[in-house]
Symmetry: D2
Subunit: 239 residues, 4 copies
């Protein structure tokens, strides 16, 4: 199983606070803990050739984890379309935090994916609202994060196929923080936390959720539909 | 309440069979029966300036009904984006038959919207699977259509918010024929029947469903979310 | 359209605080504002013969509003089953606050309907998360309630067909406060606020939601399914 | 992982046709192929003490497979309630064919679970409508069954959390043949085929679906919610 962590990798180069928290980049931190489950976690970043997402790389990726924030527009239309198409063809996609505004996620959702936000050290408490889902395995009833960026409703996404988490924020907002979507043959998991100026991706329960999400998003052997003109399977009476 | 019926309006000009069935165009036939409920049903077609979908027209439209088939690609990107945006802003959209492949619907769904198809005079029986929904008002348990084009699963759409109808086809296929989706502030209803070479839009129960769909899709006074940076509603403790 | 408001009507008789807030009973307060929309709002209470829910009353009721709290167990199994059956047959049901534990709701949900709770004057903020839904018409982005009982997740209900509201509570919890369910031919709306010691049912936006919920829950003319042994509609080949 | 196959086990004793097809009982046939995946598949039947479903047996069961038909009423209320409660507590439940009318399933659904039916050697074709779901792994686009009992819409269940399969029947009906539901901490999978007079449970693809369903329904380590009175997690301002 091949996992690829994609990161914009700009904040880490331009902001000392972020660089101090994530010296190997956000992708490095995520790849490290995912590496506990998967021997071959790779990474790719915006400034690589084709953003590190060549056809070959995409075709061999089973689950893609995506983090982006300030440079969504620099992702080329062509690569964004390819990522979308690979998801429809069966690649799993785990969309983190500010990647709600990434091109692949917006193309797959069909909505603005807009929301309220605030950088004010809100306390966040992420409540589990679906205690049957494998993405919640190993968790307690909620995850506390001491300080995070706030994201608030209305979150302009389609009604999720499954709503797993709802966040409470100190400043008075709520947010649908964990949600799954199926598109084509692909499974998508959006998970809210992870602003670049906080050490959120070192939080053990946040890591657990992302690990679970990667496992859930794999899709190896489900049917491949055939589209287009089709001969009848039964006799059609001439009328 | 302003209803607008949009039609590609090409088959009717190029194919005598279609012209005979729909001498006023498919849009004309649909506008006529919708006119029984709404005094001001307007129409627009592909070959008009801006496809008849100027900002002014779109902004005053409450529900847009869309039929297209062979010229989806001739709808400009700009107009398709505007239609999508108006739906997200609250305009209802009723998507008929081959408009499953129309640009606005594909953009709003985020999937290929592909399916199986066959033109072979299949009998179609459209079963109601949600007998609570206002779009099914006035119907019996199913609608029989003597001859129609077949559409078969897999239909590559997101799982609908509500699945209302499932079709049985003589040749051995099934299809999710009536489905609703909410995107942004807009309500979308997809309804399958209506191949251009059959008189489907004169079928009283098909008309009833489309009438119901138009009524359901209106959205006048629901909240308008505010997005972007937000001040806290409660005091955030300095930590 | 016949609306019936059912109330346990015990707190009002036993607790002066409640009696002061609702001198005509909670049912009286609800019936009064619903009466602004519907000329014939009736009421029924637990201590009436058959709890005021005779076959005749139930059969002519289009939408039943239910409030109960401390005497759920005194509702007879027979009446609870009849209410459930009428919902399956098409009667709308609006379930308020502590009626999450009422017999009809639990029977219709199939789950424990359990939750966290606290009576501690929490501030509640009810956020709209589905700005397409007619039950949200006329509202802003959220409803503020100065003091209310807290209900917290996990709320043990099936995943709602539509999630409309999510509450934020001062004490750190969230709750799926407004949710719809379809069961049989019936439409059900659960709405959280309304603890008996607070004047919540005088809150104009709370009233608006309940009014909208009653309108939404009516189901007059959708198909009535036929169940049981069925003759084939097409010829079955002898094999 | 402990799998338990429960069977009414009456047809096999009373009808030679059924006995010839399933000499070890329907439970025996199902346990045999499930045994290819799980070393410890056990069985239980109606006429055993407590229907073979003692507290000890239920508590150690991870996934329960249920087949019943003519003797649903002989399942005691007490045992039916215990099964329901174990599902809410996290036991998986795979409900086969005529068990749509079993007490545990009806209690968990809250609806009549009624449907149309016919024993007339209909051909059935089960189409995959969700090609992302692990329960569809290893299948093609559809499963053909030469002869089966017909089940037709309307199927009176809540809208499924996930709709996986839709059946086409030769006689003109359709049916939502594979559907999942979450209730409490439990995962439920309903799968349609398996009338006792046909050798359906020897069909390799039917077996594959049931095997996949059992794997999917396990729920080991998700959070266990705490219900009831709860202390605040944040300070509540005295007002």
């Amino acid at each position: 199983m091949n996992v690829l962590v994609w990161n914009e990798f700009r904040h880490e180069k331009e902001n000392d606070v972020v660089a101090d928290i994530y010296p190997e980049g956000i992708h490095g931190a995520i790849a490290e803990f995912l590496g506990e489950d998967h021997p071959t976690v790779k990474t790719a970043t915006l400034d690589e050739e084709e953003h590190g997402l060549t056809d070959e790389v995409l075709n061999e990726t089973d689950v893609l984890v995506w983090w982006g924030h300030k440079a969504h527009d620099e992702v080329s239309e062509e690569v964004a379309e390819k990522v979308k198409q690979r998801v429809l063809d069966g690649m799993g996609l785990v969309v983190l935090h500010s990647a709600h505004f990434s091109k692949p996620f917006k193309k797959l959702m069909g909505t603005s994916c807009d929301l309220k936000w605030r950088e004010a050290d809100d306390k966040e408490r992420i409540w589990v609202v679906d205690p049957t889902h494998p993405i919640t395995e190993g968790l307690g009833e909620y995850i506390d994060i001491e300080k995070e960026e706030m994201y608030g409703e209305h979150f302009d996404i389609p009604a999720p196929d499954e709503l797993l988490f709802v966040s409470w924020f100190e400043g008075g907002e709520v947010f649908r923080s964990g949600a799954t979507f199926r598109r084509g043959r692909g499974k998508i998991f959006y998970f809210r936390p992870g602003h670049e100026t906080y050490p959120t991706y070192y939080h053990k329960e946040v890591q657990k959720v992302i690990k679970n999400g990667v496992k859930w998003a794999v899709n190896n052997e489900t049917p491949t539909p055939i589209y287009g003109n089709a001969q009848p399977l039964e006799t059609i009476t001439k009328k």
